[in-house]
């Protein structure tokens, strides 16, 4: 897609660096294998095969990512410049892959019940057919390739060096998620409603993203980020096309990361979706979305930063405040964490706005830290169960600390990490982004950030008080243990603790990743 005029038939064969794209290709390839398994393997063996394919695919992709990271100074473009393979991208991709592996532990969980996903998506909730499928012990093993496709999209999204690739990645990541949202085993009406809402709003936002892309194409004659940047510095930023394009593009990106005023989908979708999938969305999708935001604003629009900064300031402030304030009155655990996730999106934006190396590295660190804590927290939620599935309502969590001190204590630890209490990764992350924002001259943002952290601390601590200082309910929820979920919780807690107590190695890693900046 070079701006050179080409006659029909003149399109050259693109050369593709398969080695540098391997992590993405492995994940997408595993997804295709999953589809074949679904088509060819007998029903009884599908679960095992699918889990195997998924885990092997993710692990292999992660290993390859590591190899790319340490092999040489990764600062390349691949596939004719459509994909960037550089320090920040590899950091983000590695984070996504590990978090996806952890989420996979929850998705593949079948100790609590046969699967966290519906037995047969096509059956109507409450119908005899649904009961039959439940009794028959059916499981919907298509979820594994769907998850892998989504993860593949997430891997491309922050790596995409042109807006078309980014759009395709956006859809590859979103479409499976829309479907997966609607596949909860329990409370299926809520789940389906979440899927519809997510899908309609997601499609709506991608229309904005795409229209923004069109405007920028009109402005620069190319959708390549580097060429947009070049065009901005050449022509100046006065073009209405450019400003409209940036605005609409931002809408699409900010929607994905759930920044206000585009946050409305998040609480509903997080609450309605199967918790295992919420864990995936709250961690991996957020990481990918912020990665995309970073790339667009650091590579494509950096020269225009005096124009978009005021807008982003407003968005960040609104996001932090809305997330923190509305979370206070929530009564559902998942919904509360969704608002908390919105607030954290705001904190991440303060790092993005800094547009310096410190901002980049602190945002990367924050992403990793927050991702692990989030997966751990949602993993705990899958363990606390009532007769009707997970105990979502906060009142059911009363006194849990007295009956299950370990589980409640771990959850409390995650909440403290969300609140940013010292000795947790949350503190280090917040400290890093606020420091970067301050260095970037965004003092008011930091003040709002600290204030909303304080507000947010209230509802985190409220849950802790509820768990530890209330009398347990007579018919309170039970805690269902399983090795896989417990592993996810343990890894989350461990990383949260390590990044809080000895954050230096991880910070150093994020710094060295950020030092190379995004490739153009």
């Amino acid at each position: 897609m070079t701006p050179v005029y080409m006659a029909a038939g003149d399109i050259p064969t693109p050369h593709i660096e398969y080695g540098r794209l391997a992590p993405v290709l492995i994940v997408l390839g595993a997804a295709c294998v999953g589809v074949l398994v679904e088509a060819l393997a007998p029903r009884a063996q599908r679960y095992g095969l699918q889990v195997l394919v998924s885990v092997v695919g993710l692990v292999a992709a992660f290993a390859w990512t590591i190899a790319l990271g340490i092999g040489d100074q990764p600062h390349h473009v691949a596939a004719m410049g459509a994909v960037g393979v550089d320090g920040p991208t590899l950091f983000i991709q590695g984070t996504i892959l590990v978090l996806a592996l952890m989420s996979m532990l929850l998705i593949a969980e079948r100790r609590h019940e046969d699967s966290p996903f519906t037995a047969q998506a096509s059956t109507v909730p409450g119908s005899p057919e649904e009961r039959e499928s439940l009794v028959a012990g059916l499981v919907q093993t298509e979820i594994y390739p769907l998850v892998l496709f989504a993860v593949g999209g997430m891997l491309i999204f922050p790596a995409a060096n042109d807006l078309l690739t980014m759009f395709v990645a956006l859809e590859v990541m979103s479409l499976p998620l829309y479907l997966l949202c609607g596949l909860a085993r329990r409370r299926r009406l809520l789940s389906q409603e979440a899927a519809v809402k997510y899908f309609l709003l997601g499609a709506f936002s991608s229309a904005f993203f795409l229209y923004g892309t069109a405007m920028l194409y009109g402005f620069a004659g190319s959708v390549r980020l580097s060429e947009i940047a070049a065009a901005i510095s050449k022509q100046g930023g006065d073009e209405p096309l450019l400003l409209a394009g940036v605005a609409l593009l931002s809408v699409g990106l900010l929607f994905k990361m759930g920044a206000a005023p585009f946050q409305a989908w998040k609480p509903d979708v997080y609450q309605g979706a199967p918790t295992a999938l919420t864990a995936l969305m709250a961690s991996c999708t957020l990481v990918a979305a912020v990665g995309g935001v970073l790339r667009v604003f650091y590579v494509g629009l950096e020269t225009l930063r005096w124009d978009w900064r005021p807008m982003m300031w407003a968005v960040a402030i609104l996001t932090m405040l809305v997330g923190a304030i509305v979370a206070i009155t929530q009564t559902d655990v998942k919904r509360m964490l969704a608002y908390s996730s919105i607030a954290h999106g705001g904190f991440l934006l303060t790092g993005v706005i800094a547009t310096n190396k410190a901002g980049l590295s602190s945002t990367l660190f924050y992403l990793a830290a927050y991702g692990f804590t989030t997966v751990g927290a949602f993993a705990v939620i899958t363990m606390v169960r009532d007769a009707g599935g997970e105990a979502g309502h906060l009142s059911r969590w009363a006194g849990l600390g007295k009956r299950q001190p370990l589980v409640a204590g771990t959850f409390a630890f995650f909440l403290l990490a969300f609140a940013g209490i010292p000795l947790t990764s949350g503190f280090t992350g917040k400290f890093a982004v606020f420091q970067a924002a301050m260095a970037g001259g965004a003092m008011p943002l930091v003040i709002v950030g600290v204030v909303s952290s304080a507000i947010a601390a209230f509802f985190y601590v409220r849950v802790i008080v509820l768990m530890f200082f209330s009398e347990p309910l007579a018919d309170g929820p039970t805690v269902s243990f399983s090795p896989a979920t417990a592993t996810a919780v343990a890894v989350g807690a461990f990383v949260t603790l390590v990044l809080g107590v000895i954050p230096a190695p991880a910070l150093h890693l994020a710094q060295s990743a950020a030092n190379q900046l995004f490739v153009r």
């Binding site: 395709v168 829309y178 479907l179 009406l189 409603e193 499609a203 229309a207 795409l210 194409y217 009109g218």
Partner: protein, 98 residues
Amino acid sequence: MTGHYLVLSAILFTIGGIGVLIRRNAIVVFMCVELMLNATNLAFVSFARMHGSLDGQIIAFFVMVVAAAEVVVGLAIIMTIFRSRKSSSVDDANLLKY
């Protein structure tokens, strides 16, 4: 010349956007989103013409493919909720709120 097409594209995009806001039937809402995508395609093609490059046209094809994939997923989702609720109105599905 291309200016007219762009204005048309903007009008279509706005119609689509407003349609999403005011129509209740999920299918129609979705069709309005498709209308917005088509408006985008028109813009791409116009710009391709303006810049004298093929890129915009190629992008339009990509968008079509993506839109087709979106239709598949979207219709599936809308079908399931229709079967559960016997209604395709997006306003009926509001259990998740506040």
